[in-house]
């Protein structure tokens, strides 16, 4: 399939292997497998309750799969607690924006560098030379990212008062600050208008190209997924329904049925 063409014999960056999640008798995910390759934008689609968010939460280690495995560069991530995911290069954004509302834009993005820096409370309290150096590096990096995402004007503004679209950009900036290899985006188009979705689509592509990132896009918005994804995985009722290029998936009778709920499509 196209999967093989894309892979060109290289091993996948992220491999989801036969992952199942059961919540007290309810099967939220049932043996889902797919691969993500470096530089890919992979769209994960499906109607409400299809298991997209469940899978997403397995990747970010909030849920533990009942069976199956998730491999990052060939190594299982399932023994890692949620806070040790950022350090292996998995960054994420949240469905309804989960920023730190009382912190400034800059501080939000600074927290993004947490996994890439180190400190201890005594050195931090005394502001030792190595802390000052490390903070200097952090500031440089944060400024670079803010400039990249056109957020410099609001750098010192508290996040809570910003427009939703700007907050989404801040969340992206925060995720980028950890130098992720894979960016997991949970419904980034949610709450955006038509125009903003276009801007977002360009931005995601630009980030992938400029920063050599691999993107997993969990999305409701078919237009966005079909316009920027290289590869699409469609889920329904916890199972993989179809996989392939956007065009292939769009033409798949099962996918059409799941989305339109009609038998004679």
């Amino acid at each position: 399939m196209t999967q093989a063409q894309l892979a060109q014999g290289t091993s996948p960056l992220l491999a989801v292997r036969d992952v199942s999640v059961v919540f007290g008798g309810i099967v939220a995910l049932n043996g889902v497998s797919f691969d993500m390759h470096k530089g890919q934008i992979l769209g994960l689609i499906g109607p409400n309750g299809a298991g997209k968010t469940t899978l997403f939460n397995c990747l970010s280690r909030l849920y533990q799969p009942s069976s199956g495995d998730i491999l990052m560069e060939g190594v299982s991530i399932l023994s890692r607690p949620p806070h040790r995911i950022a350090e292996i290069g998995i960054g994420r954004t949240f469905q309804n924006v989960a920023l730190f509302p009382n912190l400034s834009v800059m501080d939000n993005v600074r927290v993004g560098t947490h996994a890439r820096t180190s400190s201890d409370i005594i050195s931090d309290s005394l502001r030792l030379a190595w802390i000052r150096r490390s903070e200097g590096d952090v500031n440089k990096k944060v400024h670079e990212i803010l400039a990249y995402l056109d957020l410099e004007d609001v750098a010192h503004t508290v996040v809570a008062g910003l427009p939703f679209g700007t907050q989404k950009r801040v969340e992206l900036a925060r995720a980028l600050a950890a130098d992720p290899k894979i960016l997991l985006l949970d419904e980034p188009a949610g709450g955006l208008n038509h125009e903003e979705v276009h801007v977002l689509a360009d931005l995601i592509k630009r980030i992938r190209d400029d920063r050599h990132m691999t993107v997993l896009l969990v999305e409701h918005h078919m237009g966005l997924v079909m316009s920027i994804a290289d590869h699409v995985v469609a889920l329904n009722f916890g199972k993989k329904l179809a996989e392939g290029t956007p065009a292939q998936v769009q033409a798949d009778p099962d996918v059409i049925k799941a989305y339109l709920g009609s038998k004679d499509q």
């Binding site: 949620p82 989960a98 920023l99 730190f100 947490h114 996994a115």
Partner: protein, 339 residues
């Protein structure tokens, strides 16, 4: 055109001014406050100096709670327990082991850090009001623990311990009270600066990230459990040092000096000073030390009710405490300057 741009730019700055200085005072204000704290004792009587020392000590204890609640978002009604451990550590070390009073402070700090860190571990499973309840239990238990029979040899039981007030060193010509004031001032300033550094650092940002959104903090690589317990440890350590200074200043430790009332006073001080605003700690401390006296001056029989009314007035007028008053003052000064 340019005039309009200027207005926009100014409006923009007005929005920024608050978060930028959210944690501290401006350099000018800091220097004025510092000068006042340095010079004031020269002009006042020993009793007032003693009260100023207590102001700094309670300021430290409120600051400690501020780091925990304002910083990491965890409630505590158990600060009196950490204060008591610090006070008893100093009293026991000074009276039973003849250790220099200044040396007892870091020891009390380390012991209380350990105590707070260990208490923070089980408290990880609790949040919000449930955590407040657990810490409340700690505060109620502490005086009784200090009265335990088998500890009586060390703690003096119900009687408590009398602590010797230190003389000024190097033959400095100042009263014991004045020396202790300046000693307390140095310790307080050092801890204040360390605290500001801490909250502005990677660790401090981790505290505040946890306060604002635990799941997002964790996704950014913040070890939520570690930083929550660290916040408890740091808060307990500073409270313990405040307790040590308090024991030396009051020259006496007894179990019933460290009841839940003290913990609630500190909580009150934090709210009045402004949660999360470190300079407000001293204002909050002033409130819990002086306002009860003022209330008593107004009506001896109904001092509690008068205190309640005064507290209510403060909360009603400036719900965000001294921080809000400072911001209002800042804006007013800005307006006056323009006219």
């Amino acid at each position: 055109m340019s005039a309009a741009e200027e207005v926009v730019a100014e409006g923009h700055e007005a929005v920024e001014a608050v978060p930028k200085r959210a944690m501290t005072l401006g350099t000018g204000t800091s220097l004025v406050v510092l000068a006042a704290l340095l010079i004031a004792p020269v002009f006042v009587k020993n009793f007032i100096i003693f009260q100023m020392t207590m102001l700094l000590i309670y300021g430290l204890a409120v600051l400690a709670l501020n780091i925990l609640t304002g910083g990491s978002g965890q409630f505590s009604l158990g600060q009196s327990a950490f204060y008591a451990v610090g006070a008893y550590t100093t009293a026991v070390l000074m009276e039973h082991f003849n250790i220099n009073y200044a040396l007892t402070l870091p020891i009390a700090g380390v012991i209380c850090f350990g105590f707070g860190y260990l208490f923070g571990k089980p408290a990880l499973r609790l949040s919000g009001v449930y955590l407040a309840l657990a810490t409340f239990a700690l505060a109620t238990a502490m005086p009784q623990l200090l009265k335990l029979n088998f500890l009586e040899h060390w703690t003096g039981g119900v009687q408590g311990l009398v602590v010797t007030k230190p003389d000024a060193p190097f033959g400095l010509p100042m009263s014991q009270d004045m020396w202790l004031y300046y000693f307390t001032l140095v310790v307080t300033l050092a801890i204040y600066i360390f605290s500001v550094n801490l909250l502005r650092s990677r660790s401090g940002r981790a505290f505040m990230a946890i306060r604002d959104n635990e799941i997002a903090a964790s996704a950014m690589g913040v070890d939520v459990a570690l930083y929550k317990t660290l916040a408890f440890g740091v808060s307990a350590a500073i409270t313990g040092i405040a307790g040590s200074l308090g024991a030396i200043a009051v020259q006496f430790v007894a179990p019933d000096s460290y009841t839940i009332t003290l913990a609630i006073s500190l909580f009150l001080g934090m709210v009045v000073g402004g949660v999360g605003w470190l300079p407000g700690s001293i204002v909050g401390a002033a409130f819990i030390i002086f306002v009860p006296n003022i209330a008593e001056g107004i009506s001896k029989g109904l001092s509690g009710a008068v205190f309640g009314v005064l507290l209510f007035l403060v909360i009603y007028l400036v719900p965000h405490g001294a921080r809000q008053a400072a911001i209002l003052g800042h804006q007013l000064a800005g307006k006056l300057r323009k006219n």
